[in-house]
């Protein structure tokens, strides 16, 4: 299955969350490939902690591949190359976790026929090799999003299952921006239809992920004053109302990830050790990520609303 991770703006935790989803699926036994299509600011190398492997690969990343400079993009075996102590010893029975990094020097670029051809070839090949292929796209209505829409609209890709995750933060601006990214006049749906996608099918393949959501019921906020608490509940309710009006209400949401300092500040994979041993990360976050990872391929969550 192909999963495209998009977001309305930067700073939604799209990269770090989707990388964590890749990690969870690999732990569960799937062979997972993670592609860093965030051409403006590739971050996956930091998230998976594979800086040295990236260095050794020079500029042979996805960017160089798509513009035709190298015949195959670099692959980094995360379990083998990561400098993260815990990731170095994956549990037995886990699947492969491969990162295809972007290029440090690569910026955004327009989709030409050749680039598109190479993109389709690559996605197709990886689809036949991996159980799950996660593509992290640059924020907003970027060239990366265009290329993904264009590639999946090609007739030969019609047999492939492709799904879209749109990450947004839990604020008024982000909710509005996420809705506009998908349903707006120049949004993903309109852009996809323009490229030959079936509107119903495309809409059915898009789900939202609410990131950095503060849960008013969480013990984290148990010390706040009653006024604050009441305000938080009200605002949360208002946001739910707003999301629902904007067409990204409950039925369109695949899951939420709680506000988690480790995700916000460290931007790395959360391991079970972070949760159980050092306890710097919250159990809720681990559970949320794990749930979200399972839902990626659970058709129940992708049926027509």
């Amino acid at each position: 299955m192909l999963i495209f991770a998009a977001s309305d703006k930067g700073g939604t935790g799209r990269s770090v969350t989707s990388a964590n989803l890749a990690y969870h699926r690999a732990l569960a036994g799937d062979d997972v490939c993670y592609l860093d299509f965030d051409f403006g600011s590739p971050t996956a190398v930091a998230v998976f902690d594979v800086a040295d492997a990236r260095e050794a690969a020079e500029d042979r990343g996805l960017h160089a591949y798509l513009i035709g400079e190298v015949s195959e993009p670099e692959r980094i075996d995360v379990w083998a190359k990561t400098e993260h102590q815990v990731l170095r010893d994956p549990p037995p029975g886990c699947g492969r976790l491969v990162l295809m990094p972007g290029d440090v020097s690569g910026g955004e670029f327009a989709t030409t026929d050749d680039n598109l051809r190479r993109c389709v070839d690559l996605l197709m090949k990886l689809y036949h090799e991996f159980d799950l292929v996660i593509v992290d796209l640059s924020a907003g209505r970027s060239y990366a999003v265009d290329m993904a829409l264009e590639a999946t609209a090609q007739p030969e890709m019609s047999e492939l299952t492709a799904r879209w995750l749109v990450f947004h933060r839990w604020t008024r601006q982000h909710v509005a921006a996420a809705a506009s990214l998908v349903f707006g006049r120049r949004g993903i749906v309109a852009g996809g239809v323009h490229r030959g996608h079936d509107e119903e099918a495309l809409r059915g393949a898009i789900r939202f992920v609410r990131a950095a959501v503060p849960d008013p019921e969480s013990p984290l906020w148990s010390q706040v004053s009653p006024t604050q608490s009441a305000w938080m509940r009200k605002t949360d309710g208002d946001l739910k109302q707003l999301a629902s009006t904007a067409g990204i209400g409950y039925s369109q949401v695949l899951g939420s990830v709680p506000l988690e300092p480790v995700l916000q500040w460290r931007e790395q994979l959360i391991t079970d050790e972070d949760v159980l041993d050092s306890q710097i990360a919250n159990q809720e976050t681990w559970t949320a990520l794990s749930r979200l990872a399972a839902r990626l391929t659970d058709d129940k969550y992708w049926e027509e609303a």
Partner: protein, 323 residues
């Protein structure tokens, strides 16, 4: 002049890379479809043999090259000539592409008209002396940017074939392609070919070193390497499917479901040296001795059959019933 040319055309080295993958088609192709798929040139036929296994071999296509040779010691040797690429399909299921070339010990210091390279298909001539050892190591390590990259040529052919309109682009199961890089040093005519090294590296890479008598064409070596690569792919793929936790820990119908593709699509493909040149068939014996390719395959197939048999015994009703 003629004598000098004849001298320089005698190769001292042959190098190649084989890529092996599952054909992206839900059904295996029959002989006719295979011939259609592999028809890379209008002027030459695809060779299809039905016995002992269905095997189709495409005509050869040439790629002109003028670039540096991959070398391990950083020496920059420009080389010009043509690389041969070809594709093979076994039992309508496993697709392979190979790119290979031969190189003489030395070549002229200037580039000659293309016609002169074209009359010697598959020969790549160095400017000056060929750094043999460095080239061997360079090819096995893989080409850097700007160097003659056999993998690119082989992969390009594979990509072209994967796009063929004949294919439905659905695979019965997920699998990982492998690539095998090989080099063959030439030795005097009459000596027996030998296999000096075979390694399994990470990332689906295998490397192989051979010694090849002068009278055995490079195409025969390419054929042997394709045969080895194919069987190595089978071992690797089936082993991985068995190692997968979901089979190891699974029980009930999910075992049958997971092993089903192996039984249907792979178990019958094992047929070493079926299409290998007679002069090289004995090289298989080395690998049969150690690490023991066929022994391992026997073990794997037995394990699969045992698992299925066990399943049938413990749950005679559910095991094979449609769900």
């Amino acid at each position: 002049m003629t004598a000098a040319l004849g001298q320089s055309a005698r190769s001292v080295l042959a190098c190649g890379e084989v890529r092996t993958c599952l054909l992206p088609s839900f059904q295996a192709l029959d002989g006719r479809a295979a011939a259609q798929l592999l028809r890379l040139r209008a002027d030459e036929h695809v060779r299809v043999s039905e016995r002992p296994t269905m095997y189709a071999l495409s005509p050869e296509v040439l790629t002109g090259v003028d670039c540096r040779l991959p070398t391990s010691n950083g020496s920059k040797v420009r080389a010009v000539g043509t690389v041969i690429a070809r594709a093979a399909l076994t039992e309508g299921r496993l697709l392979q592409s190979t790119a290979y070339f031969s190189a003489p010990a030395a070549g002229p210091d200037t580039r000659r008209p293309w016609g002169q390279y074209l009359v010697r298909p598959g020969l790549v001539e160095p400017f000056g002396k060929l750094p043999q050892q460095a080239t061997v190591e360079g090819v096995l390590r893989g080409a850097g940017r700007g160097e003659l990259d056999l993998g690119t040529i082989a992969e390009g052919l594979l990509t072209q074939l994967r796009r063929h309109a004949l294919l439905d682009r659905r695979v019965p199961f997920k699998s990982r392609p492998t690539h095998l890089r090989w080099v063959a040093r030439r030795q005097p005519e009459g000596e027996r070919a030998s296999l000096t090294n075979f390694t399994v590296a990470e990332g689906g890479l295998r490397t192989m070193e051979l010694r090849l008598p002068e009278d055995v064409p490079a195409a025969a070596a390419a054929g042997l390497c394709e045969d080895l690569a194919l069987h190595d792919w089978l071992l690797t793929t089936v082993q991985q499917m068995l190692d997968n936790s979901r089979i190891g820990a699974a029980d009930g119908p999910s075992v049958v479901e997971a092993l089903h593709p192996v039984v249907v699509h792979l178990l019958h493909l094992w047929m070493p040296r079926a299409h290998v040149d007679a002069a090289l068939g004995h090289l298989w014996d080395v690998l049969e001795e150690k690490p023991g390719f066929s022994r391992q395959w026997e073990k794997l197939s037995r394990r699969i059959r045992d698992r299925l048999a066990l399943q049938a015994v413990t749950m005679p009703h559910q095991a094979f019933s449609p769900r």
